[in-house]
């Protein structure tokens, strides 16, 4: 069977974060919060987990005077997520036969 089911994406918040980072070069903490409707702590925990896996990178910048925490997907993260997607598609195809 193609692809691998990655435990890192089992949680829906991590799955969403990764989906967003597949199509956006950067995404900041507050935008994640806004789009996903999660609490600060919850989001931070899952972001750190993805960071520890080496799937996302963090970068702190300033917009005017406001600090902003930007996230981006690493090559490794993109590859792992792609495999996860392949697995899901394969699973669907298999069930449909």
């Amino acid at each position: 069977m193609k692809g691998t089911y990655d435990k890192a994406f089992e949680n829906v918040i991590r799955l969403r974060v990764m989906s967003v980072l597949m199509v956006n070069e950067f995404f900041d903490f507050n935008s994640f919060k806004e789009i996903m409707d999660v609490t600060d702590g919850n989001l931070a925990t899952h972001l750190r987990k993805l960071e520890n896996e080496g799937f996302i990178g963090v970068q702190k910048t300033f917009i005017g005077r406001k600090p902003q925490t930007n996230y981006r997907a690493t090559e490794e993260g993109k590859l792992a997520f792609q495999k996860h997607l392949d697995f899901l598609s394969a699973l669907i195809n298999e069930n449909n036969i």
Partner: protein, 204 residues
């Protein structure tokens, strides 16, 4: 584990919702503000000059003429503003090598122009009913609503710009003699302020 179909749908919806139209040019905002301010100046001159300070006096033109002149100025300002924004934003998207026509930019346009279009039709109704004093506030309010709905799909500053327009629109609606002044503040000054803010933050 959830059903794989659900999971894929979730991923797809997240990807769609998170992409924003980021090519909106700050410089275009500044220029649009300047056109609007110039347009408002011309309108002020035609409507209120020579006249009392509140503009409730002699009218140098007949009502019919004035109506056509004002409509013409409004249309010219609108075309110039949209044209400039289109060209400069396209330019910016080339410079930052982002796609100009994308799902995000289309959603942005629909969100912005649905309220604006309704507002435009509403203004024709106001002309039809001879409620001229409410036209300027109505354009501000509908444009502000459009900006707020479009702000989900583009740079954040747009949301506050929209709130500002609505506030000025409401002030103008309750004090019709201030209508044109509010219009010049909203479409002119606010555009320049937010345009420069966006220019300094994102365009350079």
């Amino acid at each position: 584990m959830k059903k794989p179909e659900q999971e894929l749908a979730e991923i797809k919806s997240m990807m769609e919702r998170s992409t924003r139209f980021l090519s909106l040019s700050g410089m275009a905002g500044i220029l649009a503000g300047i056109y609007a301010f110039a347009g408002a100046g011309i309108a002020w001159y035609w409507v209120y000059f020579p006249s009392t300070e509140y503009g409730l006096g002699i009218e140098p033109y007949s009502m019919d003429d004035l109506r056509i002149y004002l409509l013409a100025v409004a249309v010219v300002v609108l075309i110039l503003a949209i044209g400039t924004t289109y060209l400069l934003s396209q330019n910016k998207s080339k410079r930052t090598s982002q796609q100009f026509w994308s799902a995000a930019s289309k959603r942005f346009l629909v969100a912005l122009f649905l309220p604006v279009l309704v507002g435009g039709l509403f203004c024709f109704a106001l002309i039809h009913e001879s409620s001229y004093g409410l036209i300027a506030p109505a354009t501000l309010i509908f444009y502000g609503l459009g900006l707020i709905s479009a702000s989900h799909f583009t740079l954040r500053e747009i949301r506050n710009l929209g709130l500002g327009q609505i506030l000025l629109g409401l002030i103008g609606a309750f004090f019709p003699p201030l209508g044109l002044v509010c219009w010049a503040m909203g479409f002119g000054v606010l555009h320049v302020v937010y345009g420069s803010m966006m220019y300094y933050r994102y365009d350079r």
